[in-house]
Assembly symmetry: C2
Homo-oligomer: 255 residues x 2
């Protein structure tokens, strides 16, 4: 990499102070996040990656939870190294192997396409690790079809949510009631609905791990004031044709 | 990795058919996404990664855009290999170096914390590449402070949006008007607001690259029916104290 050219075309000199206005104001308000950090105790948050996961399932929650005072967010997989998404387009690095991780405050299991979900549900190494870590977590959580993996590990009771088109499978396979909400909390297990619901789950988790004010601060920090240009994200309101299209787009993107 | 134990504890046997109900329905409706694919022409979508990027900025749009029929989404950086986020917690692989990529249908530049944003704004290799690729894109886009990088590359005109606390900097540095909307389209340049706004931008882009029905199908595919547990994501409605807290949480998470 060459050094920046001084005075180059459109060269812009700036400083830490100028890009984000208002940072100095935190001091003016006498703000500290020490209370929240003491409450979170520097939460150890672990996210399980496995081949074929859906990209937003772990990354939405990671974005939110990494802003918790003192928290660490670690991507974990059966083996260290790159783990590829369902579309094969993108890979996220697993920083730790499951064998290296025994204790977590929060475990989050993302969802995947059918191939990835089924492989994880049938992988005894992952299921055993999930059960082992779950014994000591404060919260064991999932996004999308990740709840099916929690189910395969024997951790679901009573009620749960999952990806909308996996609701029947969830109920028939694990004998729990599907609840069509963004996240469903039963004891210390919290399951979230499909893909983008992990962001809503993570804000709820932030309020549990720290406090509501901190969660609100994080929501503003990630400017999460959603305004989708369409209103088509709720399966309960979708036509059969739109549901079929959604599933075809998913399946085709994973070929 | 050991082979799955047959009949092991909580072992669940399943098939591709059962996990997602409704996949077969796509055929029943005679659905094809061929029209949309012809329109997108198999869009080549490139996302620029650079040290210190914010995780959700590229991954939210990648999740959405990777569902476009025939589209490819490629993570690109100055050099191939892992690129780490602002918190240093997570790394995403860059699959291509900028020197390997000359043509894209869509370029997306994510945002970062101050360190990452300033470094990118002062990196002549990245700025020159952005300008070069921009000549032939259908859409040149940004999320969060990514618009400041587009500005440093000389690509902003008239109006733009950015991360809420960078609005003053945007206006003073590039002489454009800050518009507090989720995304702002000026010619073929579309800038999005902070972090999570990239998801809204991506759905809009999906409708431009394919059609509205496809974008709605993708919205359902990622179950994007946002229901944040709090209503604190809009800076225009936030108290000075909450803004200061948000910026402190961001700054502390990047230490």
């Amino acid at each position: 990499m060459s050094a920046p050219e001084s005075g180059g075309m459109n060269s812009v000199k700036t400083t830490r102070r100028t890009v984000l206005t208002g940072v100095a104001a935190a001091a003016a308000f006498g703000l500290t996040t020490g209370t929240a950090e003491a409450e979170t105790g520097g939460s150890k948050i672990g996210i399980l990656l496995y081949d074929g996961f859906s990209l937003l399932d772990p990354t939405g929650p990671a974005e939110v939870l990494s802003r918790l005072p003192g928290a660490t967010v670690t991507m974990i997989a059966q083996h260290r190294g790159p783990v590829r998404t369902d579309t094969r387009d993108v890979a996220v690095l697993a920083e730790r192997a499951v064998a290296e991780v025994n204790r977590l405050d929060v475990l989050l299991v993302p969802g995947a396409g059918t191939r990835g979900t089924v492989a994880a549900m049938e992988n005894p190494v992952l299921l055993e690790w999930i059960r082992r870590v779950h014994r000591h977590t404060a919260w064991t959580t999932s996004v999308c079809t990740g709840s099916l993996i929690l189910g395969a590990a024997g951790l679901l009771r009573d009620r749960a949510t999952t990806y909308w088109s996996s609701a029947d499978y969830l109920e028939k396979t694990f004998g729990v009631r599907y609840v069509p909400e963004r996240y469903v909390q039963v004891g210390k297990v919290i399951t979230a609905a499909g893909v983008s619901a992990g962001i809503d789950l993570a804000l709820h988790l932030a309020s549990l791990l720290a406090d509501e004010e901190t969660a609100r601060g994080i929501q503003l920090a990630v400017e999460y004031d959603p305004q989708p240009p369409f209103d088509s994200g709720n399966a309960a309101k979708a036509s059969p044709e739109l549901k079929a299209l959604a599933l075809k787009l998913l399946a085709d993107s994973q070929e």
